[in-house]
C-alpha cells in the first residue's frame, strides 16, 4: 500500500525528479542526516525551487504533512514546495526541524545559491557564508562568481572564500594552496587563523607556510588584544560609572549611606520592562524606541521613590550613619520582595532593539553596539549631572546646603526640600542606569545587589563628593579589572582589585581626588 503510494507520488512528480530514487526535496521530510544530504544535493542541483525551499527551511516555514508532502507557509497561504503553487495540504502540518549540522549545510547552500544575486549586499553575505563553510565542491561556482564580480569588498571576500575552499580540499596543487595561505594570512583574523591551523598535517612546505601564517596572525592579534582590552575596560568602567554616579550624589554629596541604591537601579530596569510592554501593546511602531522612552520615565520613577524615601525615612536619621545603613538595607530587602510579588520571581525579558544589537569589526577589535551605546550614554549622564550641579539654581543650592547648611538656611534656602531633591536626583540617575543595565543584565529583583558594592567602591576610590573622581575611578577599576581577568580569572581578578583598593585607601583615605577645605572637616 505504502509502496504503491510512493510509486504513484514518484510518477506524479517525475518532471521534478532528476533520477528515480534520488529526490532531494523528498528527503527533506526525513531525519537530520537525510535533510543535510538533501540540502547539499539541492544547492548544486540547479533546481529552480532550490532557493525558495532552502530559504523556507532556514526560516522555519517549511512544513511536512503526515503523508510526507512538503509545504511552504507564506503568511496564511500554503504553497506546494515542489511547484510553488498554492494548495491545501491534507492533515495537520509540522515544521521541519533542524539541528546544527543541518544549519551549517543550509548556510553553505544559501551561499551557493545567492552568489549571483543582483544585490551586492546579498552577494557579500553569500561569500561570508561560503567562507564560514568551506567546501571544495563550491570552487567552480566561486570561480565563475569571481570572474563576474566588480565590487571590491565582495571580490576580496570571494577570494578568501575561494582560498578557504582550496585548502579544504585534498587535491589542489601545492602552489595553489600556498597562494591560498597568503590570501588567508592577509585576512588576519581568528577565523583565518582557525583555517590555517587546521593545515598542520599537509605536505611540509604547505604546513610551514600555514604555521608561519598562524604565527603572524597571532602577533597582530596580540596588539589588537590590547586595544580590545581597553575597550572592554572602558565598557565595564562606563557601567560602573552609571551605577555609581547616582551614589556619588547621595553618598558623595549628601553623605547618606544608601544601601537601597541598587534597588533604585532595579526600579529603573523594571520601568524599562513596563515601558517596553506598554509600547509593544499600544504603539508597536515605536517598539525600537522603547528604551529611549524609558530613560526619562525611569528617572521620574526612581527619583520619586527616592524623594519618598528621603522624606519618610532618611530625613529622620541624618547624622546617624549606622542607623541609616541598617534602615536602608532593610528597605532594599523590602523593595526587592515588593517587586518580586508584583512582577514574579523570574527574569523579565527586556529585548534589545535592532539598532543596539550586533557588533562592528574595527581591525582586530570587536565593538559590540550595546556596549558602545552604554559608553555614550554614561558620558551623557555624567555631563548632564555636572551641568545640573554647576549651572542650575538647584545645583547651586545643593552645593550651598552641603557646604554650609546653616548659612544656606540663613540665606533663605529651604534646606529640607533641597535634601529631598538632591536625594531624588541621585536616585533618578540610578534609575537611568537601570535602563542601560536592562540591556546587558538580568531584569530580576536581585539586579541591584550585584552593583551596590561596586558602586561604593567606585565612589570611595574616586574621592567622596567629586564627580570627576568618580569618572576616573570607574574607568580605572574597569580597565584594571579587564586586564587582570584573563591572567588571574574572574574570581581572583575581583579579589585582587579589592585588595589593591584596600591598600590604596590605606595610603590615601580620602580617595583619588579628595575634597579640600572646611566642608571636609565639618
Amino acid at each position: 500500500m505504502t509502496l504503491l503510494r510512493v510509486l504513484l507520488l514518484l510518477l506524479v512528480l517525475s518532471p521534478f525528479v532528476a533520477r528515480a530514487g534520488d529526490d532531494p526535496i523528498a528527503d527533506l521530510a526525513g531525519n537530520y542526516d537525510d535533510i543535510r544530504h538533501a540540502v547539499d544535493a539541492l544547492s548544486v542541483s540547479g533546481n529552480a525551487r532550490a532557493e525558495p525551499v532552502i530559504a523556507a527551511l532556514q526560516n522555519g516555514a517549511l512544513m511536512v504533512a503526515a503523508d510526507r508532502s512538503l509545504w511552504i507557509r507564506e503568511g496564511d497561504a500554503m504553497l506546494d514546495a515542489r511547484s510553488g503553487a498554492p494548495g491545501s495540504p491534507n492533515g495537520p502540518l509540522k515544521p521541519v526541524r533542524l539541528n546544527n549540522a543541518v544549519r551549517r549545510a543550509i548556510e553553505a547552500a544559501m551561499g551557493n545559491l545567492t552568489l549571483f544575486s543582483a544585490d551586492p549586499a546579498r552577494r557579500l553575505k553569500a561569500a561570508q557564508a561560503l567562507f564560514a563553510q568551506p567546501d571544495p565542491a563550491a570552487l567552480p561556482t566561486l570561480d565563475r562568481a569571481l570572474a563576474k564580480e566588480s565590487v571590491a569588498g565582495v571580490r576580496r571576500l570571494l577570494q578568501q572564500a575561494q582560498a578557504a575552499a582550496v585548502l579544504a580540499g585534498a587535491d589542489a596543487p601545492i602552489p595553489d594552496r600556498l597562494a591560498a595561505i597568503v590570501v588567508l594570512r592577509a585576512r588576519g583574523d581568528l577565523a583565518a587563523s582557525n583555517l590555517l591551523a587546521a593545515l598542520a598535517g599537509q605536505p611540509p612546505e604547505v604546513a610551514a607556510a600555514a604555521a608561519e601564517g598562524v604565527a603572524a596572525i597571532a602577533r597582530a592579534q596580540k596588539i589588537w588584544a590590547l586595544a580590545q582590552g581597553v575597550f572592554y575596560g572602558i565598557s565595564l568602567g562606563s557601567v560602573l560609572l552609571l551605577a555609581a554616579s547616582g551614589l556619588a550624589i547621595t553618598f558623595g554629596v549628601m553623605g547618606v549611606i544608601n544601601m537601597a541604591h541598587g534597588e533604585m537601579v532595579m526600579l529603573g530596569a523594571y520601568t524599562t520592562f513596563v515601558v517596553q510592554q506598554a509600547v509593544g501593546a499600544w504603539l508597536p511602531g515605536l517598539a525600537a524606541a522603547g528604551v529611549l522612552i524609558a530613560i526619562p520615565l525611569a528617572f521620574i520613577v526612581s527619583g520619586a521613590v527616592g524623594i519618598a524615601i528621603e522624606r519618610l525615612l532618611i530625613s529622620f536619621l541624618y547624622g546617624r550613619p549606622l542607623e541609616t545603613l541598617l534602615a536602608t538595607w532593610g528597605l532594599s530587602l523590602g523593595l526587592q520582595q515588593a517587586v518580586r510579588s508584583l512582577f514574579g520571581a523570574s527574569n523579565r525579558d527586556v529585548s534589545t532593539p535592532g539598532w543596539m544589537s550586533g557588533a562592528a569589526q574595527w581591525g582586530g577589535v570587536t565593538i559590540t553596539f550595546n556596549r558602545l551605546y552604554i559608553i555614550i550614554f554614561a558620558a551623557f549622564v555624567l555631563a548632564a549631572l555636572m551641568a545640573v550641579l554647576r549651572a542650575t539654581p538647584l545645583g547651586l543650592q545643593m552645593r550651598a546646603v552641603t557646604q554650609n547648611r546653616r548659612m544656606a538656611a540663613a540665606m533663605g534656602i529651604r534646606t529640607p526640600w533641597i535634601d529631598a531633591l538632591t536625594f531624588g536626583l541621585g536616585s533618578g540617575v540610578a534609575g537611568m542606569a537601570g535602563v542601560a543595565l536592562s540591556q546587558i543584565d538580568n531584569v530580576s529583583p536581585n539586579l541591584g545587589q550585584g552593583y551596590i558594592i561596586d558602586s561604593f567602591m567606585v565612589v570611595v576610590f574616586g574621592g567622596v563628593g567629586n564627580l570627576w573622581g568618580t569618572l576616573v575611578s570607574a574607568l580605572t577599576l574597569g580597565i584594571v579589572n579587564k586586564f587582570l581577568e584573563p591572567v588571574a580569572g574572574a574570581v581572583l581578578g575581583k579579589i585582587f582589585v579589592l585588595v589593591l583598593l584596600i591598600l590604596f585607601i590605606q595610603r590615601k583615605p580620602r580617595g583619588l581626588f579628595p575634597l579640600k577645605g572646611r566642608a571636609v572637616e565639618a
Binding site: N99, T366, T368, N370, P486, A490
Partner: protein, 432 residues
C-alpha cells in the same frame, strides 16, 4: 421573663451545636498527613524555587482529590528558608520536630542540601531533592530525584563528541561546588577519551557575573585553533542571561561554537530573547516540549492550577512529580508514613515519568532517567535532537574521580551503606 429563658435556651443550643460542629473538625485536623515543602520563596533562589513550591501544592491537591493517602488527607506545610543556607537547617528542624511532617520536598542548591543533611539524619526524616547535582553523596534519609553527573553531563559530552565532532572543550562554570565537581569529572572523562590537556579550557566566574566580554572573547580565541570547539556550561542562574547576550553580540552562533548547558531550562530562557541562541543545547531528563500524553496532561493541569496559560514547566518539576508519586506508592506499600518503613519500601518503587517511560528508585537512592539533548528554539522551548535509548542508572560515586572510584551506595539490608568501599570491603563512615 419567658423571652429571656427562650433566649438562654437558644444560646445553649447554639453553643452545643457549635461544639458538636467543631469536634469532628478537630478530629479531622488530626487525621491529615503533613508534607513539608522547603523551598526559598524570597532571596536569590526564589527565582527557581517558587515554581517547585507551586508544583508540590498542585500534586498534593491532586492526590487529595483522588481521596488522599491511607484514607487521610494530605496537608502541605510551606516554610520559607529565604535563600539563607543556615536557615534551611533551622526550618528543616522545625518541619520535622514541630510540624512532624511525614516527608519533606525541598532544597535547590547543593549547599542548602548539605546544610539540612545532618538534621534529616539526626531526626530520621525523609527529604526528596529534585535538582541535578554533582553526586559524591548518598544518604539513607535523602532520595535524589535529580540527575547525577552521568545522567546529564557525560551523555551531553558524548553527544557533542559523536554528533558534532567536537575536539576542543571549554568547561565554563560558576565558582561553587556543583560546577567544580562536575568539571573535575568531565575533565577526567575527556582525558580517558584521549583529549589532550591543551584542548581543555576551564573557566570559573563568580555568582551573578554580568560582564562576559573578556571571557567570550577568550572562548572565541580558544575556538580558533582549527578544531571544532564546544562550551560545556555549568554557569548558574542569573549569570546566564548576560552570557548568552554577549555570545549573541559577539556573533558566536551555535553552528560555530555550540554551548551545552546543564542549568538552563525553559524557566531561565523566559528572560531572554532566544532568537540569537537557536541551536545552542541543553541536556536534561525532561523538556516541556516532549510530546507524550502524560506530559500534555501534566502541563494542562499546571496551567489550570496556576491559572497562567503560558507558565513553563521544567526538569526539577518533573523530578518532584516523580518523587511525590514514588513516596505515595511507598507509603501505600508500607501501609504507614513512618519514615523507617517508608525508606525501606521506597527502593524498587517504579512510577511513570513525563517523557513516556518509567522511573525506578534504585538501591543507591537515585532514580533511573532518560537523558535528552535539546536545541533552543526561537520560542524559548527546546527541540529534542537526541536521547539515550533507555534510561540511565545514576552513578552517585563517579568512577572518574580518584576518591570515589571504589565506592558504591546500597541501602538494601544487610549492606545498608552509602559509601561502601568494594576494595577494602568496608563501609566508610557516613553509614549509621
Amino acid at each position: 421573663m419567658a423571652s429571656l429563658r427562650t433566649w438562654l435556651r437558644g444560646a445553649a443550643l447554639g453553643a452545643a451545636a457549635l461544639a458538636a460542629l467543631s469536634l469532628p473538625g478537630a478530629a479531622r485536623a488530626q487525621d491529615t498527613i503533613k508534607v513539608g515543602i522547603l523551598h526559598s520563596l524570597s532571596g536569590t533562589m526564589a527565582i527557581s524555587e517558587t515554581t517547585l513550591k507551586d508544583v508540590m501544592l498542585m500534586l498534593i491537591d491532586e492526590q487529595n482529590r483522588k481521596g488522599g493517602l491511607l484514607g487521610k488527607k494530605l496537608e502541605p506545610v510551606v516554610v520559607d528558608p529565604a535563600s539563607n543556607w543556615p536557615l534551611f537547617a533551622e526550618k528543616a528542624r522545625e518541619l520535622l520536630s514541630v510540624d512532624k511532617v511525614a516527608a519533606v520536598f525541598g532544597c535547590w542548591t547543593s549547599v542548602s542540601r548539605k546544610s539540612v543533611l545532618p538534621v534529616f539524619e539526626e531526626l530520621d526524616g525523609i527529604l526528596f531533592y529534585p535538582v541535578q547535582y554533582e553526586g559524591e553523596e548518598s544518604s539513607r534519609n535523602v532520595f535524589y530525584t535529580g540527575a547525577a553527573p552521568n545522567q546529564q553531563a557525560i551523555p551531553a559530552v558524548d553527544y557533542l563528541m559523536n554528533e558534532e565532532g567536537v575536539k576542543r572543550w571549554v568547561l565554563a562554570g560558576t565558582d561553587y561546588v556543583y560546577p567544580r565537581t562536575t568539571n573535575k569529572i568531565l575533565e577526567a572523562y575527556l582525558k580517558t577519551k584521549g583529549v589532550a590537556d591543551a584542548d581543555i579550557m576551564i573557566n570559573y566566574t563568580p555568582f551573578g557575573h554580568s560582564d562576559w566580554q573578556n571571557i567570550v572573547a577568550q572562548i572565541k580565541k580558544f575556538g580558533s585553533a582549527g578544531k571544532k570547539t564546544a562550551v560545556v556550561s555549568t554557569i548558574n542562574g542569573d549569570a546566564n542571561v548576560p552570557f548568552y547576550k554577549e555570545l549573541g553580540n559577539q556573533g558566536i552562533k551555535a553552528t560555530d561554537i555550540p554551548v551545552v548547558a546543564f542549568s538552563v531550562g525553559e524557566e531561565e530562557l523566559a528572560g531572554i530573547d532566544t532568537k540569537p541562541l537557536i541551536g545552542h543545547l541543553a541536556a536534561w531528563n525532561y523538556f516541556e516540549s516532549v510530546d507524550v500524553p502524560s506530559n500534555k496532561a501534566f502541563i494542562d493541569e499546571w496551567h489550570g492550577f496556576t491559572k497562567k496559560p503560558n507558565r513553563t514547566t521544567n526538569d526539577p518539576m518533573e523530578a518532584h512529580y516523580i518523587g511525590f508519586n514514588m513516596w505515595v506508592k511507598a507509603v501505600e506499600k508500607a501501609g504507614t508514613t513512618q519514615p523507617d518503613k517508608v525508606i525501606d519500601a521506597m527502593i524498587g518503587v517504579t512510577v511513570p515519568n513525563l517523557t513516556g517511560g518509567y522511573a525506578a528508585m534504585m538501591p543507591n537512592h537515585h532514580i533511573t532517567k532518560p537523558v535528552l539533548i535539546g536545541e533552543v528554539q526561537g520560542d524559548g522551548q527546546f527541540n529534542v535532537v537526541w536521547q539515550t535509548p533507555g534510561t540511565v542508572v545514576a552513578q552517585e560515586w563517579s568512577p572518574y574521580l580518584e576518591g570515589s572510584r571504589d565506592l558504591i551506595a546500597d541501602w538494601r539490608k544487610p549492606l545498608s551503606c552509602g559509601n561502601f568501599n568494594v576494595k577494602t570491603g568496608k563501609c566508610g563512615g557516613a553509614s549509621k
